[in-house]
């Protein structure tokens, strides 16, 4: 079913897209990972997300893939979209100052009938310019430097948007049905060990390519179904730590929360659920293990502003793992399955069964209980960061 409201050939990019205000959206999410680290093509994730077309309305879909750029495994890879030539020139000038460009090319795409307008799409493989890195801060980690650069481009260069900024991974997204976006980006030609995908049903009509999901920062990617009622305070909380929320999406906030909690504060992934979808006080009271009780209480008190309230189902990935989580009362669907080394997380069981007819196990994780798949084989991932 194609969306008839979507212009077939749009003359110009939508000038006020959802970049400038927050809109809510419902969605379908799916993720597949090979826990032994073996690479597999994007065919499965394509099939899986296309089986949930009902959950979107053609105003945004996307894919995240890990392990796709082994030739540039040590380089930071930015995927950038430009709505104007001018923003491209400006951004490239900025990148040249801040990074050493190793390789730059258009992101390969295919002409697809249903995708009329598309922005200029480029990818850059880069090393950090060490001198520029120390310009403002004597000690700034590579990751924090990259975040600063991404935030600066996204918040100051109009019409440019860095939508992927990790290593050996990439996000591909745009306005369209998942099958069209998948075809457009030639998803099936990539091989990765973790794939996630997203299909969007935003409540506004102006679709902006940067507003599609998954959302990425460093090698985090977030595919998210839900609307966060706590957005206002989550955003203000993150601003304390220097995160600029320039997209006004819930998903952006989730990505930054993961970066803050896991990378900066060293919270183990297993504990992230205790913060983002914290157990109720009454459940904490019932815990007998005194140490566990104290810890949960402490996490809730200290990270009160990081609690994500309202319905959500998220699939978060980084180079080492895939992570599924529901809100504390499970107001959005999320199903998990596994078959040998493969772990599947999706909004619907049908999306899993589409690509894995007979899983070894299928389960529905309760609200607030994370499902975590970790990559066992380190070889496939040469740039394993220290976190996660």
């Amino acid at each position: 079913m194609k969306n008839e409201y979507l212009p077939k050939t749009a003359p110009a990019p939508p000038p006020v897209a959802d970049r400038d205000f927050r809109i809510s959206s419902a969605c379908g999410v799916t993720g597949i990972m090979n826990r032994s680290g073996g690479l597999f093509s994007g065919g499965d994730i394509f099939e899986s997300i296309c089986n949930m077309k009902e959950r979107g309305n053609g105003l945004g879909s996307g894919f995240a893939a890990y392990g796709i750029y082994p030739d540039f495994g040590n380089q930071w890879c930015f995927h950038v979209m430009y709505d104007t030539e001018k923003s491209l020139a400006e951004t490239e000038e900025y990148l040249k100052k801040k990074f050493e460009l190793i390789h730059c090319e258009p992101i390969p795409t295919k002409n697809v009938k249903n995708i009329g307008y598309r922005p200029l799409l480029r990818r850059y493989f880069m090393n950090i310019n060490k001198r520029a890195q120390r310009e403002f801060y004597r000690n700034i980690s590579d990751e924090d430097y990259v975040i600063r650069c991404v935030m600066e481009i996204n918040s100051t260069i109009r019409n440019a948007c860095v939508f992927s900024s990790g290593k050996n991974m990439g996000i591909f997204k745009g306005v369209g049905e998942p099958d069209d976006i998948g075809e457009f980006y030639r998803i099936k030609e990539y091989k990765a060990y973790i794939w996630t995908a997203h299909n969007r049903f935003p409540t506004n009509t102006a679709g902006w390519w940067g507003g599609a999901h998954p959302f990425g920062l460093l090698d985090w990617s977030v595919a998210h179904n839900g609307e966060i009622s706590s957005y206002g305070i989550n955003r203000r909380y993150l601003e304390n730590f220097g995160y600029k929320c320039s997209f006004y999406t819930d998903t952006e906030v989730i990505a930054y929360l993961f970066d803050l909690l896991v990378r900066k504060h060293g919270i183990p992934l297993e504990r992230v659920g205790n913060i983002l979808a914290a157990p109720f006080w009454s459940s904490i009271e019932r815990i007998e293990d005194r140490k566990e009780k104290e810890l949960l209480k402490k996490l809730r008190i200290v990270y009160a502003s990081a609690l994500i309230n309202g319905p959500f189902a998220i699939i978060v990935a980084n180079a080492n793992c895939m992570f599924g989580l529901n809100d504390r009362v499970k107001l959005r669907p999320l199903v998990c399955a596994e078959k040998k080394d493969f772990l599947y997380i999706a909004s619907e069981e049908a999306a899993i069964r589409q690509v894995c007819k007979k899983p070894d196990r299928v389960w529905m994780p309760p609200g607030g209980e994370p499902t975590i798949g970790r990559v066992k084989n380190k070889k496939s991932n040469r740039n394993r960061p220290h976190y996660g």
Binding site: S25, T203, R235, R236, V329
Partner: protein, 497 residues
């Protein structure tokens, strides 16, 4: 010159058909409005003495009495209001400052009334607090920026409150012991805190001391190590919303034996709290007092600082947090008092809505918001005001006037006279015994319960099931009839945006 008669603000009406001349009104009125004339078997009422507390009206068994505003009006004048004229008349007679009680009754722009709340529709589900858990539990105190999961360690002591509402500082002296007991018991029963004010901790209130925040104010009345030890938290009082920049004065005639013992001053002497703390002439001095109190309490209790909301409230609050306070109380211009000069109460300070918004924002900008909780105070009339203050950034609110109204107060603003017919703002035994602490506690408890339920209902409507997700969440607020600057200060959008 014609002899001026006392202007009556109220007219005491009596329905003679209903009045059975039981003389209850004659006996109860502390202002001696009513008198019985045996010769004519009639009751007369001197309206000029009436303060409008409505006590006689409420206790009259036959509903014969009605207190109405005096219809007699001066010529209408937008500048020279009736109050302005009669205040001059009073001052021309007395040559003194005009005193008053409770919070300002001036018509300041009320921002709470111009802020509306959000609710969930379609894209996320609203929640029903009758069926889903809805959490109001709040922790007051300093929190670390992060938790090291692998390293066990305790948080600094926090005040755990079941609802983001506490009773604000009202001393034994400014209010009666029965009123203190009512509030203390209600707070303890509900799981929140009450505040001793600068009145010391009376021995009858010691059993509620684990729910008490004790004040250390400029007069240091009642402060000793036992007082600090028994309390749950300590609050340094710098200022009060009703009278920023000035101290307090409990006249000697109110300093009874009980008050004298509790405040540790001789019976019958004036209890004067100086305008400043004479050991705090600057922020570094405040830091010393904060840490002196922390030392004295072995770092086991939160130590907070209460200030009135004034022009530079944001940087002042930031300085207070940097001086080591675990919580900051901001008291707005509508905050109440037992006694204050009218001119101060009605003209000094800024509204709490604006103050709490700028304080929360400033602490966030400086990255120190986690170091202290923010408590807002000053004129909270309903659960809606509370939830809006929380959404603007307060961790909790203090209620004073609302709590007293739950005990019977009818806001006649005559607290300073000590003749409170409701037995609240008085030390006269005949009057204080009218307030039964058990009944008072039940009513104050009911108020906390009712407001908490309403807050849960509003939270659920927004699709939020824990109060911390609303705290500082200004996206859930919209302004109506506010200009751009006001919206900017409040950090909210206009309705429709």
């Amino acid at each position: 010159m014609a002899k001026g008669k006392n202007y009556s603000q109220f007219l005491v009406g009596r329905d003679d058909g209903r009045c059975v001349k039981c003389q209850a009104c004659v006996r109860v009125c502390s202002n001696e409005v009513h008198s019985y004339d045996g010769k004519t078997d009639s009751i007369r009422s001197d309206s000029s003495k009436c303060v409008g507390c409505h006590f006689c009206e409420e206790i009259c068994p036959t509903e014969a009495i009605s207190i109405e505003r005096n219809k007699s009006q001066l010529r209408k004048n937008a500048n020279w209001t009736q109050d302005a004229v009669y205040n001059i008349v009073r001052q021309a007679k007395s040559g003194g400052m005009l005193l008053t009680g409770m919070g300002s009754d001036k018509n300041f722009k009320n921002y709470f009334d111009r802020i509306v709340l959000n609710a969930s529709q379609v894209t996320n589900p609203s929640m029903d607090p009758l069926r889903e858990p809805m959490e109001l539990k709040t922790f007051i105190g300093s929190k670390p920026e992060r938790v090291a999961v692998d390293r066990p360690g305790k948080l600094m002591k926090q005040l755990e409150i079941a609802t983001p509402i506490m009773f604000s500082a009202m001393s034994f002296g400014s209010i009666s012991l029965n009123a203190c007991k009512s509030l203390a018991k209600a707070a303890a029963d509900f799981g929140t805190f009450w505040n001793t004010g600068e009145g010391g901790l009376h021995r009858d209130l010691e059993r509620y001391s684990s729910n008490a925040i004790v004040q250390v104010a400029s007069g240091r009345f009642g402060v000793n190590s036992e007082y600090l030890e028994k309390a749950a938290a300590v609050e340094i009082k710098i200022g009060q919303g009703a009278k920023p920049g000035i101290g307090g004065h409990l006249p000697g005639e109110k300093v009874s034996a009980e008050i004298s013992r509790t405040r540790m001053i001789p019976e019958g002497t004036d209890a004067i709290s100086p305008a400043p703390h004479h050991d705090i002439y600057s922020i570094e001095d405040l830091k010393q007092l904060v840490f002196a109190l922390k030392e004295a309490t072995l770092y086991k209790k939160p130590v907070g600082v209460k200030i009135s909301a004034v022009n530079n409230v944001a940087p002042i609050a930031s300085g207070i947090v940097r001086a080591g306070a675990d919580f900051v109380v901001i008291d707005g211009i509508r905050g109440g008092t037992g006694a204050a000069p009218l001119v101060t109460r009605d003209n000094v300070g800024i509204p709490i809505e604006l103050a709490v918004a700028v304080v929360d924002e400033r602490l966030r900008q400086e990255g120190i918001r986690h170091k202290a909780s923010v408590i807002a105070a000053g004129g909270f009339r309903s659960s809606a005001d509370v939830i809006k203050a929380v959404a603007l950034g307060a961790d909790a609110v203090y209620i004073g006037t609302a709590a007293l109204v739950s005990l019977g107060c009818h806001l006649c603003q005559k607290c300073y006279t000590g003749k409170c017919n409701w037995g609240i703002a008085t030390q006269d035994e005949a009057l204080t015994k009218r307030l039964n602490p058990e009944t008072g506690a039940r009513q104050a408890y009911n108020l906390l319960r009712a407001w908490s339920m309403e807050i849960k209902e509003l939270l659920g409507g927004m699709g939020i099931n824990a109060i911390e997700s609303l705290r500082g969440n200004r996206d859930n607020l919209r302004g109506i009839d506010l200009d751009e600057n006001e919206l900017k200060i409040l950090g909210i959008k206009h309705a429709g945006q």
